[in-house]
């Protein structure tokens, strides 16, 4: 299995994600990358929103006219939701996006 992972060199992958009322306007609800890829999620939104990528634990505030990017090396394999962050005792929110990092 290590050989299979090594055969594919890490790539740089960028995703443009534009939110309309907290939902990804176009494109799939899941983005897939391979482990060790350099990933950049570029967010724009029609309203102010705090986004949290679970697992990698990255938080960004996105607002109209103020896009933000999450850039990281995808070293942990798994399926990670991006959710809208709420304050206080956080409650269940539908994920905005899923990031799948495949081995």
């Amino acid at each position: 299995m290590a050989a299979g992972a090594a055969a594919q060199a890490p790539e740089r992958k960028t995703f443009e994600l534009s939110l309309v009322d907290g939902k990804v306007a176009a494109g799939p609800g899941t983005v897939r990358v391979r482990r060790h890829d350099e990933v950049e999620l570029r967010w724009s939104s029609d309203r102010r929103i705090v986004l949290h990528l679970h697992g990698y634990d990255i938080e960004r505030t996105v607002a109209p006219g103020a896009p933000a990017a999450m850039a990281f090396k995808a070293d942990i394999a798994g399926r990670f939701p991006v959710t809208e962050h709420a304050h206080g005792v956080a409650r269940h929110h539908r994920a905005v996006l899923y990031l799948e990092v495949r081995p």
């Binding site: 679970h54 798994g78 399926r79 990670f80 005792v89 956080a90 799948e100």
Partner: protein
């Protein structure tokens, strides 16, 4: 702090980041299940012997009293510490010991120990230990036998609802309140009817961990500690009473429902319910949990009916159902292990920093408070192959246990073999449900 935002719906606490099973692996698992089922049936068709017992090795001939006392003291200390953390500690679920202790270490971790080693809860139960230390107060009323284990069924449904539906199950103080309420009820019950009657009929966790421990290799049989092959205790088991049958099926349903809650199909159920005017997700999830339990009951009753028909009579449908229900347990345990072993190894790591700072007050008792959880500890390959192996192995143990039970219940090899067609079909369907859930992307 890692994943400090809302945990997803589903299990009480701790988030699973597992990738879905890849399609080829899912197909391989399903294929192996069917092939091994046929192989097992073919093997039975040739074998002649039907032994009621199982091979065993006696490890201890008397209870090690000092060790048992030590285990109970530790369990009571952890129980009190967890309650105190819940009531008086910081209310952030990731900084308070209570949430990780209850949902990850106790409910998931202890279930693993009971299924794979032996019934540790029966030994350590802090509610029973505290009652005993208080001098075993009891009014000695006769437990109403007509009730049987139905109180445990009701309490387990309430617990499953708390685990899977209750939105506040990760608020430390609420969790501590629930623990204290349950403990008070248990102590009141023990004071009314005596400890043994309450533990046997109404203490939901004694029943739940006891059911899991039927699979375990270690067993205290009252006089000695014995070692036996995993699953051997299932075929040799006596038929259970009807309320225990209901309890086992409810437990199996809640285990599968836990995974089902996070599938895209359940998400669609929520969306359809909203379109129909049922906006309250909790209500929909509660109804779905109840429907799952009733569905399991209906499917199992149907299979039991078909089993009696196929064997050409003998026991009644109810007797057959009560004799066979425990043979499904390995499939549920295998699913539970597959579903949770990565969670136990990732979310379980929270216990390392929490051990040094159980109240979230900023202490560092053992110098581990700054430990950061390593999510990469379980590779997806380990998860995928481990999960499929567990599920296929659980299925095989279940098929073997069911055959052993059939020989005992129906007598005669030919009738036992015929009776197993519907039961094995149900088991294959149940195993396929487990594999299907694991192949779904986690949403929610």
């Amino acid at each position: 702090m890692l994943c400090a935002a809302s945990p997803a719906a589903g299990h009480g606490f701790g988030q699973r980041f597992d990738l879905p099973l890849p399609l080829p692996l899912w197909i391989a698992g399903a294929g192996a299940t069917i092939v091994l089922t046929f192989a097992a049936v073919a093997f039975f068709a040739r074998s002649r012997s039907a032994s009621a017992g199982y091979p065993r090795v006696v490890l201890l001939r008397r209870a090690p009293a000092a060790w048992i006392a030590a285990v109970r003291i530790a369990a009571v200390a952890l129980f009190v510490l967890t309650l105190c953390a819940g009531f008086f500690g910081a209310q952030d679920p990731y900084r308070n010991l209570a949430v990780t202790m209850v949902w990850v270490i106790w409910w998931v971790g202890l279930a693993f120990v009971c299924a794979l080693v032996g019934d540790l809860w029966a030994l350590a139960n802090p509610l029973a230990a505290l009652h005993a230390w208080a001098g075993s107060p009891s009014l000695g009323l006769a437990y109403p036998e007509r009730l049987g284990a139905w109180p445990a069924v009701a309490l387990f449904f309430a617990f499953a609802w708390m685990e899977l539906v209750w939105p506040a199950n990760d608020v430390p103080a609420y969790l501590a309140c629930a623990m204290l309420a349950y403990a008070t009820l248990a102590w009141a019950g023990m004071a009314l009817y005596g400890r043994d009657a309450w533990l046997k009929n109404a203490e939901a966790f004694s029943l739940a961990f006891g059911v899991l421990a039927r699979l375990a290799p270690l067993r205290w049989n009252g006089r000695e500690l014995e070692l036996r092959p995993p699953g051997a205790g299932l075929a040799a088991a006596e038929p259970v009473p009807v309320p225990v049958l209901a309890f086992v099926l409810l437990m199996l349903a809640s285990v599968s429902f836990d995974g089902f809650l996070e599938t895209p199909l359940m998400e669609r159920v929520f969306l359809v319910a909203i379109r129909l005017g049922f906006e309250d997700a909790q209500l929909v999830a509660t109804a779905a949990l109840a429907a799952f339990a009733l569905g399991f009951l209906a499917a199992f009753w149907l299979a039991s009916w078909a089993m009696v028909r196929a064997a050409g009579g003998g026991p009644t449908v109810r007797e057959a159902a009560c004799a066979f229900v425990l043979t499904l347990v390995p499939i549920a345990v295998a699913y539970h292990l597959a579903h949770y072993f990565s969670l136990l190894l990732t979310a379980g790591q929270f216990i390392i920093p929490l051990g040094s700072d159980p109240f979230g007050f900023g202490w560092d008792l053992f110098g581990t408070a700054r430990y950061r959880v390593d999510l990469g500890i379980v590779s997806p390959y380990v998860f995928w192959y481990g999960a499929v192996t567990l599920i296929v192995a659980g299925h095989v143990i279940a098929v073997l246990a069911a055959h052993g039970t059939a020989l005992r219940v129906f007598g005669g090899r030919r009738r036992a073999l015929a009776s197993q067609i519907p039961m094995v079909a149900l088991m294959v369907a149940y195993t396929m449900l487990s594999l299907w859930i694991l192949a779904q992307p986690i949403v929610g």
